[in-house]
Chain length 232, copies 2
């Protein structure tokens, strides 16, 4: 907490008076009261973004599907499922200036949720039907007015092509691509190796950085966007 | 660490020279490099059992599918899937005197695991085929010789009937039943409300206790079993 306050007093206050909305962690979609479908996102990248934006003077709301303790001085809303994430994001979207969607949100969820624990039975196979969840990023892309919308693409193949496609399809202002199979870039790691893709075709490759360093570089990149609302 | 050492110096050394094997946490079964099927077990009950057995003089190996940091002075093996859990348990089973299977091991896993991230595609439903995993507890029940085998039943309905059935089917020496839907007994909670069922028909209901207190009561119950090998 003291370290955080020192960092803030030394950081440029280039996000002052801006409202930054950050999502973090991996959602969990329950199958029954005991089991869920989850993903390996730890929440560390989103927490680092929340921390970095706060250091630079922003008011930050962090919507977290992670079990990590909240970073200092940041308002946090805990959610579990993609649907809860969607509700929390929508509630905060209109007042947001910058939206950083670092959470790994489930694309699919069980089509039905069992109220009781599913029992194993007689060694038979089990068929699980999954249905798509709401596409939060695409919905925000359609809805946005002045907001700067930053997406994240965690991929295991054809990273840049997939990320560029996502940037365009979802009308993002910036996408942060990372290949989660690379050492030092994966889930739960304290470091990340990102490539930033811009709508005008620009591409910026970041070296291996701590997640907090990478977060600051992402905020630097957001500042270069033509409609960045901050005042120096 | 100092508190743990103090507790040990004050505890009865009734598990001295015994080798206690504990499993903890919830296994994760990958769907692809990004997603998995998991369960809500935090690992706290298993860690408490490892701690309690160590305080009472046992040599403890903890096989953990939890992300909690290891308790002091206990040898820990980290695993992720039911199969890894099985391999680690088998490796340690022959030398074990008491086996406390507190982990929530997946009953099912995806029948095939995708090497690449499954992409969302065109809003279609996804069918997931699950296959049963190895039944660790039943396998140990068939294999056991002198070992005392303690199972856990986390249920959401018909708790005692389901637990009694599991005790018999899997040839356990004791089963610890808890209804995870009760307040103060659920996953991630620091307390638990357990009922102990014995093969001779005995039943012992424990009040709401911290998980470390409950762990000591479970070790007390193990001592009442006819073939408990410990020496006072």
């Amino acid at each position: 907490r003291i370290v955080a306050a020192c960092r803030r007093s030394l950081a440029p206050q280039d996000y002052r008076e801006l409202f930054v909305l950050v999502t973090a962690g991996g959602t969990r979609e329950p199958l029954d009261p005991v089991r869920y479908i989850g993903n390996y996102s730890s929440g560390k990248m989103g927490y680092a973004l929340a921390q970095a934006a706060w250091e630079r003077g922003a008011r930050v709301t962090l919507i977290s599907a992670s079990s990590l303790p909240p970073p200092s001085e940041v308002e946090m809303v805990r959610v579990e499922t993609a649907e809860e994430m969607w509700n929390a994001v929508v509630k905060n979207f209109d007042k947001a200036d910058v939206v950083l969607k670092a959470a790994a949100v489930a694309d699919f969820r069980p089509a039905s949720r069992s109220a009781q624990k599913i029992k194993k039975g007689d060694n038979h196979k089990l068929i699980l039907e999954l249905e798509p969840t709401v596409d939060i990023l695409a919905s925000l892309g359609r809805r946005k007015e002045r907001q700067i919308l930053v997406g994240f693409a965690a991929e295991t193949e054809e990273l840049l092509a997939n990320a560029r496609q996502k940037l365009e399809d979802k009308r993002l202002d910036l996408i942060v691509a990372n290949d989660v199979t690379r050492p030092g870039a994966g889930f739960g790691s304290d470091t990340n190796i990102c490539t930033l893709l811009f709508p005008d075709g620009r591409k910026e490759e970041l070296p291996r950085l701590t997640k907090l360093e990478a977060a600051h570089r992402i905020l630097d990149a957001v500042k270069t966007l033509p409609h960045f609302p901050g005042r120096e």
